[in-house]
Symmetry: C2
């Protein structure tokens, strides 16, 4: 098999851990696999460099930041390659450039445009283990770019796609994807497999293991993604096409997102286009609107409720205020003490009654549902934050996720 293995900052956090990574890569190679390794900077390194830059400027130039920050991954990649060579393997360290990772020009958050895997193919063809500095690429001007948060995961997935690897393993400090957060429900179980679509829902709903960008790219490139821990040999969770999961459970997981605030607008003038004006303004300010509910009121005005991440609340308030001052909105109110509980599962597509069951569980526990949003494979409910744990545990139990 051709396997891409990606190790994050904590997995390569010191020299001993880098040696552990080398041991794992070595074992994979000795099992008869071809291996490409993608590494992050040693944990703490990137923050140290960011701190250095901020010593000089609150708003350092992005091109300079990319040249600065890309140094960390080069160090790890070189060291890991040296460790593998010392163990008797043929290995070669590659920068993002050498690995052929071409990005657009957006410094500090570049998008991968293409991968020219020729150098990797040659090295693999020669029996070498390829060690790639993650998080970085090169734009058409030949300047180093970095890929933003979760960038090394993206490097790994994109490389796996370009090489048509059999597997892309993402090593972190958690052992896989769980039916829900084990800190809330100790009976939560690790999933063997989950579909891209479910993973995307779970990730956007608060499961922190993988960034959505990586899952989306894996889905697009049809990469079999495994998330697992670098601290034990425990098997992880395979994220793959729905077709590859023989018997999908009705519900795969319960997600909780505490990072939501609710904004209620009362007496919104009933003129055509007002909602569109309002939400376009929010979009212009890059406020992330999640759920929206609109109700006609008795007096020919409208009430609109919507949720935004807590971090975007201040920006949203400013825009609401301007509409209130213009007399387009009569009153507004805000609530940060809410959370969003979601039930996710591809099985919902073919089975009815999943949503009804969720609502009745909430009713049984006297939890009031403020807002509801559904997709083909997800039911999200906004509830008061104080009920968060109760809701998660009750739903986890009701769908028998501990079985």
């Amino acid at each position: 098999m051709l396997i891409v293995q990606k190790f994050g900052g904590t997995s390569v956090g010191d020299l001993e851990r880098i040696q552990n990574v080398a041991n794992r890569v070595s074992a994979t190679k000795k099992d008869g696999n071809d291996v490409v390794v993608v590494v992050s900077a040693m944990s703490g390194e990137t923050n140290k460099l960011v701190g250095y830059a901020q010593h000089f400027s609150k708003n350092p130039a992005q091109a300079e930041m990319d040249m600065l920050l890309s140094a960390g991954e080069r160090v790890t990649a070189s060291l890991l390659s040296i460790a593998l060579q010392e163990m008797g393997h043929e290995a070669t360290a590659m920068t993002g450039r050498k690995a052929g990772i071409v990005t657009d020009k957006h410094h500090t958050k570049a998008r991968i445009e293409e991968i020219n895997p020729q150098a990797m193919h040659e090295a693999l063809g020669g029996g070498k283990i390829v060690v790639v500095a993650g998080f970085q690429g090169v734009n058409e001007n030949g300047d180093v770019t970095t890929l933003g948060r979760g960038g090394s995961d993206l490097s790994a997935v994109a490389i796996a796609g370009a090489l048509k690897a059999d597997l892309c393993e993402i090593y972190t400090d958690v052992s896989g994807i769980f039916t829900t957060d084990p800190r809330i429900e100790p009976k939560a179980k690790k999933l063997d497999k989950i579909s891209y679509e479910e993973m995307l829902e779970l990730a956007s709903l608060g499961a922190k293991v993988l960034q959505n960008r990586s899952v989306e790219m894996a889905k697009k490139l049809n990469v079999n993604l495994v998330t697992r821990t670098s601290f034990s040999d425990e098997e992880g969770t395979l994220i793959t096409k729905e077709e590859n999961i023989m018997e999908a459970p009705l519900v795969s997981g319960i997600a909780l997102d505490r990072n939501q605030a609710r904004i209620s607008l009362m007496g919104v003038k009933d003129r055509p286009g007002i909602a569109s004006d309002f939400f376009n303004r929010l979009a212009d300010e890059e406020v992330n609107v999640d759920m929206i509910i609109q109700n006609k009121s008795h007096d020919d005005t409208t009430n609109i409720d919507f949720t935004v991440p807590v971090g975007d609340l201040q920006d949203a308030k400013k825009i609401v205020d301007s509409f209130v001052q213009d007399g387009e909105i009569k009153a507004d109110s805000y609530n940060e003490d809410i959370c969003k509980v979601s039930v996710v599962g591809v099985g919902m597509r073919s089975h009815t009654g999943v949503a009804a069951k969720a609502f009745s569980i909430m009713a049984d526990n006297n939890i009031n549902i403020n807002m509801i949003a559904t997709s083909e494979i997800k039911i999200s409910m906004v509830i008061d934050e104080k009920y968060a744990e109760l809701a998660v545990r009750s739903l986890h139990d009701a769908y028998e996720l501990d079985k």
Copy 2:
């Protein structure tokens, strides 16, 4: 003027010092000059990275070492560019690759083959300060290479040559080139100017400020080199063409090299080619032979005396031993308690009596001269090490270098 300024590891040793460097570069720019800055890694960084590598392997692969070590200079260059931008300058950080530094394939000690200064020209044309990561280039395969000891100086000189800069300033922790080592002779004076040839002699004789590689390149590319301190505004020493020095003094400096050992071979068989065989063997083992004296003996054999750096003595001994065993040499002896004192000055070319004066000074002080070697601009004398300071001070005084 177009000025290249190079700052070594101690000059950029911490964030405060990087800010000091930024202040100096800023002042140079504000004086109306175009500026290219070449920086080393923060002092200690390179050693830290070497230590990391040696944790994994006593003999790490050189390509990996280059990828590893080149990270340090990138960090400094990015930070300095950010600091300059914060001060209101247009600045841009460049890797060796971006600056167009192309080298041969010798990882960890590559030679610069050419410089493609297009990116630097464009940036300078746009009024920008260019900040280049020193010590690194890229070979024809597109892999990062490093230039070995003194590599950042070489980067600076090569860039100054390629850009036809008016001046290449090398900033270190010493304020310039002195008539002799001030730790030996406190009356030593800093030289305003010195020719490339004299500097080459002084450097190879123990003056540690500049590596010969840099001076040789400056000479070849006709770069006006200034060595000065980054810790004060004191003027440094200009190293330039002899023609640019209006009134060259008879003698410019007295150099002392304690790092020499003498090897004496007695009864060397008088067959044709034996000396050539012997010294070729030494060359094959990369033993650096400095001075050689050969005397015919009474019995038709030859005596050969020569000096090598102390570090090469063991390798040299092995070769001597094999010639002794083969019966080609009768006896051998070694002396590490010697030193080499040299009088350097381009004025010697046109004035006689300089050597005679040196010999009489030694005689006046009862210092026995073991070996003598002369060039157009240098007289070197091997003496017992215990007379080192006495010889240096007496010569310094005799040629009135404190005046």
